[in-house]
Amino acid sequence: MSVAVKHISKRFGTFPALRDVSLEVQTGELLALLGPSGSGKTTLLRVIAGLEIPDAGQVTFVDEDVTEKSAYERRAGFVFQHYALFQHMNVYENIAFGLRVLPRKARPNAAAITKRVNELLKLIQLEGYEQRMPSQLSGGQRQRVALARSLAIEPRVLLLDEPFGALDAKVRKDLRKWLRHFHDQTHLTSLFVTHDQEEAFELADRVVIFNEGRIQQIGLPSELRENPQNDFVRDFLES
């Protein structure tokens, strides 16, 4: 078991975003967090990344309790919904960033960094784009650069927040296939948030359905369809 959250609760002011959420993610699994807006799925993702501090509960990465650890100690790769690329850096510098900010002892030399960046560019099929600025890229290309950037630090888990939300339908479909293929190759434990059922069911090994800060049901896509555990899940999947 790779990532586990236990009894996570989080409020924003008076709004309860997460209510006693517990979840175990298997190593190498691609897990979808699915639900309507405001159901708490993005909040949970951010809690796992260390970008939100829960009011209560625990987060573990492979036997290590990381609840007290800050985001940069957790080494969770995070891909933001609107990419959050560094606008003033080109593609190369964006991807190399995680390597360049390593403490001196752990930092690879310039040649090693270039090698790694080139490997990643090949992986995301954007070779030759090193000098381009984010503003010169299309949405799909930016998304891939954001992915490569978070992969550069060799994360233990990959977290994607509505990765295809800002893209148009055709690009979305292509990237979906690409992400599945990528996951099959790398077997990196990944969680992604989406409100699109089709996407969740097509991509994920297991799907977690959220509503109002609670997990409604977890299971294989086929299980969820055949055995919805409550009314919400049934209605949500039918719509």
């Binding site: 970008l51 790769g77 995070f78 959050a84 900010v101």
Partner: protein, 277 residues
């Protein structure tokens, strides 16, 4: 041309004429006058006015004051903007309003408050005299009073700028393993550097040109006054050409400041602040 919403051509001419006349007589004319009067007695006299002893000491002091005030206020502005943008805490709105206080009060108040503390009959007055430390009528006092008056400029520019940029890039850098300083220098500073410059030049222009607050803390002690006060001294001593010569230097400074400010705002590199300066 939207006929229904455009004004009669006569009205347009009239309003443009009024605007033009107002700007001409009120704004352009005084500027032109400074240049004319400064050069009235020829270029030679102009330069000798600027190199005169009193002018030199005034220029030097003004530069030294700006050298202290601008960096301090810039550091403050960056800190305040960082705290306000990236964190939630109680009293944030109050903090922002407090920062704006110096813009609303008369500069004379800015000098008055320090006179009340450090003056002869002030709180620390007797202690300072006993230890032979000079705050008022000296460099430290002028720096304090000028810092008060120019306090908000950098912060006011940076706060809306950083808030509109949000925290996403910083959070991304955090997940990639950057520590505090790396975050700031590699990710945040490149985004805000033009805003910082914008605030710094406004702060600088105001610091060098400040009259009221410095007048209170420095009085008219020879050789210990800044350029604006020296202009007043020349004026009161009927040395008009020298006054205008020195004034033309400050005018040059304000024209350069205005040019840079407009250039940055037109390119949308820094937000336009329409309220008080």
């Amino acid at each position: 041309m939207r006929r229904a919403t455009s004004d009669h051509w006569l009205m347009r001419c009239l309003l443009i004429a009024i605007t033009g006349a107002f700007i001409l007589f009120f704004l352009i004319f005084p500027v032109a006058v400074i240049l004319v009067e400064a050069l009235r007695n020829g270029i030679g006299f102009y330069f000798s006015s600027l190199t005169a002893h009193h002018s030199q000491t005034a220029i030097r002091l003004t530069l030294l004051v700006a050298l202290a005030v601008v960096p301090l206020n810039t550091i403050f502005g960056v800190c305040a903007a960082w705290a306000v943008t990236h964190f939630q805490f109680r009293g944030k709105a109050l903090l922002i309003s407090l920062i704006e206080i110096p813009l609303w009060v008369s500069p004379v108040i800015g000098g008055l408050v320090f006179a009340l503390i450090f003056g002869q009959k002030g709180w620390l007055g007797p202690w300072l005299t006993a230890h032979n430390i000079q705050i008022l009528f000296a460099y430290p006092g002028i720096v304090l009073a000028t810092a008060f008056v120019t306090f908000p400029f950098v912060a006011r520019g940076l706060i809306p700028l950083m808030q509109s940029q949000g925290s996403a890039e910083e959070e991304a850098a955090l997940t990639l393993g950057a520590n505090g300083w790396q975050l700031f220098w590699r990710v945040s500073f490149p985004k805000i550097k033009w805003g910082v410059l914008h605030g710094m030049i406004l702060c600088n222009a105001r610091a060098m040109g400040e009259f009221g607050a410095v007048s209170v803390v420095a009085g008219s002690v020879d050789d210990r006054i800044t350029m604006p006060l020296q202009i007043e001294q020349y004026y009161l001593n009927f040395s008009l050409p020298q006054a205008f010569a020195l004034a033309s230097l400050l005018l040059l400074l304000s024209v350069i400041t205005l040019a840079i400010k407009i250039a940055l705002e037109w390119r949308k590199l820094a937000p336009v602040i329409t309220r008080l300066h």
